[in-house]
Symmetry: C2
Subunit: 114 residues, 2 copies
Amino acid sequence: MDNHSKPLTGIFQALADPTRRAVLRRLGQGPASISDLAKPFDMALPSFMKHIRLLEESGLINTRKLGRVRTCTIERKPFSMIEDWLSTQRVLWEGRTERLEQFALATREKENSP
Amino acid sequence: MDNHSKPLTGIFQALADPTRRAVLRRLGQGPASISDLAKPFDMALPSFMKHIRLLEESGLINTRKLGRVRTCTIERKPFSMIEDWLSTQRVLWEGRTERLEQFALATREKENSP
């Protein structure tokens, strides 16, 4: 199991939908109310709310009710977790490339030795 | 819709599972046969094959049959697509921070002007 395995599953699950990614892109520009967020989508509010709930459960957004308006804010931590995961993957590749280079070098040295 | 919307959905969907992420981590170290990949998992082969197929459909891995052995290789392009998506998100945040800074600066200048 990787670190943060459970949160990562929820984060990737939340990102696996174009509506939810569009909501995150909008929230990247600043907080917004749920009704403003829903406007660009041809979708009933209960369906849209499901997307919001999934985003909130994954930790990608926070929502806060002030009076009658619920405002959504993006959370950066899950994005860092994806970046960490990508870095870990990259370290594996680099380790592999390095091992291949060392092998190639060792082979060449062996071939060139008298 | 974001660019690459459809592939991104498939990629994030494929990543939303700890078994599939573990397979990618293993393949980050180099190609492997399906039977070798399956070993660490307490899972029937047909179930494991579903994970492999989902990874292949998303473009995260390639599989190639040589004789009786099917070998899996990781593909780096989908990882770049996630990185691009994260960068776009980051650009939005930075734009937002810059606008906030300009606003703060303009306000301070106004306050300090005679």
